[in-house]
C-alpha cells in the first residue's frame, strides 16, 4: 500500500480541519458532525484517523492545562 501523495495528504488534512472546526463550534458533540466525520474517515487512512483522534485529545488536554491549570487526579493510593 503506497504512502499518500501530497495531494492525498492535503485532502486528508482539509477534511480533518473541517471536522475539527465543526467539533469546535458544536462543543465536541460528534453527533452533530457525522457527515464531516465520514468524509474525514474516507479521505484519510485508518491509521491516520486514529492518530488524529489521539492528537485532538492531546491538544484539548494541553489547552485545558494552559487555561485551567493542572489538578492532580485524586486517585486512591500513590504511584
Amino acid at each position: 500500500m503506497a504512502a499518500p501523495t501530497m495531494e492525498e495528504r492535503k485532502a486528508c488534512w482539509g477534511a480533518r480541519d473541517e471536522f475539527w472546526q465543526c467539533l469546535d463550534s458544536h462543543g465536541d458533540d460528534a453527533a452533530k458532525c457525522e457527515k464531516l466525520r465520514r468524509a474525514f474517515e474516507s479521505r484519510c487512512p485508518q491509521q491516520w484517523v486514529k492518530y488524529f483522534d489521539k492528537r485532538r485529545d492531546f491538544l484539548k488536554y494541553k489547552k485545558k492545562l494552559e487555561t485551567e491549570g493542572y489538578h492532580p487526579p485524586e486517585a486512591a493510593g500513590k504511584s
Partner: protein
C-alpha cells in the same frame, strides 16, 4: 693619592657605614656591587670615587653615601630588573603557548576519533548506491529521520527543512549544504517509495534507506528513538520516532539538532551561525 672624602678603606662585604640611608643586607650589597661592576668607571661619584677606580669595584659609598648621585645607578638597576622580569614573562608566555598548542593537538586528535566513529551509517540512496557518512565529508549536512506514511509531522518538518535549505542557498558565499532524509520504516520505504515521497520537497533532498539492521544502527548512531506501532487490519501502522533534524559539519562532526519548535528561518539562521563559526580540522599531522 686621591681624595676619598671621609671614606676609609673598606671591604666590599663590609658592615653598614654610618650615614648611609638604609641598611643593606649582604646579598643586596653584593648585588649592588655587581651591578656597579657592570657599568663603566664611575664619573657618577666624582667627589667620592676618583677615576680610575681600582679593580675590584669602587667603594660602596658611591651608592650609599651620595644621595644626589645614585639616580642613574638606580635606573640601571631598574632596567636590569626589568630585563630579567621581561625574560621571565617571555618564558612564561612561551610555556603557556606550548601548553595550549599541545592541548589543541590532543583535542583535535579526540575530535578526529569522534568524527570517524560516531554518527556513521551504511545505507542506500534512492539510486541504489551505497552511502556512508564518509561520502558527505566536505559538505554540511542537515539530516532528518522520518517515514513516508507519516500523518503530518514528517511532511511539515521536511517542508521546513526544504525552506531552510532554500534560504541558505540564496547566499552564494555559504558552503554547500546537503539535506538528507533517513527512513525509520525500511520495510515499506524502499528506494522507489522514497523517491516518490521526496519529489514534493527540495530537489536536492536525498533519501536513504537500507535493511532493518542498517536503519536501526543509523538511528542508534544518532540517538533517535524509533518504535513501530501496532498494525491494523490493512497492515498499516505508524512509526513513533524522535522528531529531530541534525546538523553535521564537513568534518563529519555533529553540530546541532533542531526540533518541532524551530521555524525554517530560525533553522537557517542557526546553520549560518555554525557555518560562520566553523574551523576545519587540519589534516592529521599538519599541526
Amino acid at each position: 693619592m686621591r681624595g676619598q672624602g671621609a671614606a676609609e678603606a673598606q671591604t666590599p662585604g663590609g658592615a653598614v657605614r654610618p650615614g648611609s640611608p638604609q641598611p643593606l643586607t649582604p646579598s643586596l650589597r653584593r648585588a649592588a656591587a655587581m651591578l656597579r661592576c657592570l657599568r663603566p668607571v664611575p664619573r657618577l661619584c666624582p667627589r667620592l670615587c676618583p677615576p680610575p677606580c681600582p679593580a675590584p669595584c669602587p667603594p660602596r659609598r658611591c651608592l650609599a653615601a651620595a644621595p644626589g648621585a645614585p639616580r642613574l645607578p638606580l635606573r640601571r638597576r631598574l632596567a636590569a630588573a626589568g630585563a630579567v622580569a621581561g625574560a621571565a614573562a617571555a618564558g612564561w608566555l612561551y610555556v603557556r603557548h606550548e601548553k595550549r598548542r599541545r592541548q589543541r593537538a590532543r583535542r583535535l586528535a579526540e575530535l578526529r576519533r569522534l568524527a570517524l566513529g560516531r554518527g556513521d551509517f551504511q545505507l542506500r540512496d534512492t539510486a541504489g548506491a551505497a552511502r556512508s557518512k564518509a561520502d558527505f565529508l566536505g559538505r554540511w549536512v542537515l539530516l532528518y529521520f522520518g517515514f513516508t506514511h507519516c500523518p503530518d509531522v514528517c511532511p511539515e518538518e521536511l517542508q521546513k527543512l526544504s525552506r531552510a535549505v532554500e534560504l541558505l542557498e540564496r547566499d552564494p558565499a555559504l558552503p554547500p549544504l546537503q539535506p538528507l532524509f533517513v527512513t525509520v520504516d525500511p520495510e515499506r520505504d524502499d528506494a522507489a517509495a522514497l523517491a516518490r515521497y521526496l519529489r514534493d520537497f527540495h530537489p536536492r533532498l536525498l533519501g536513504l534507506t537500507g535493511t532493518t539492521e542498517q536503519v536501526r544502527a543509523a538511528a542508534k548512531a544518532f540517538g533517535v528513538y524509533v518504535s513501530t506501532g501496532p498494525r491494523d487490519a490493512d497492515g498499516d501502522y505508524v512509526v513513533d520516532h524522535s522528531v529531530l533534524t541534525f546538523l553535521v559539519d564537513p568534518d563529519g562532526l555533529f553540530r546541532d539538532c533542531y526540533g518541532r519548535s524551530r521555524t525554517a528561518e530560525e533553522l537557517a539562521r542557526s546553520v549560518r551561525a555554525h557555518m560562520d563559526a566553523y574551523e576545519p580540522l587540519p589534516p592529521a599531522g599538519a599541526e
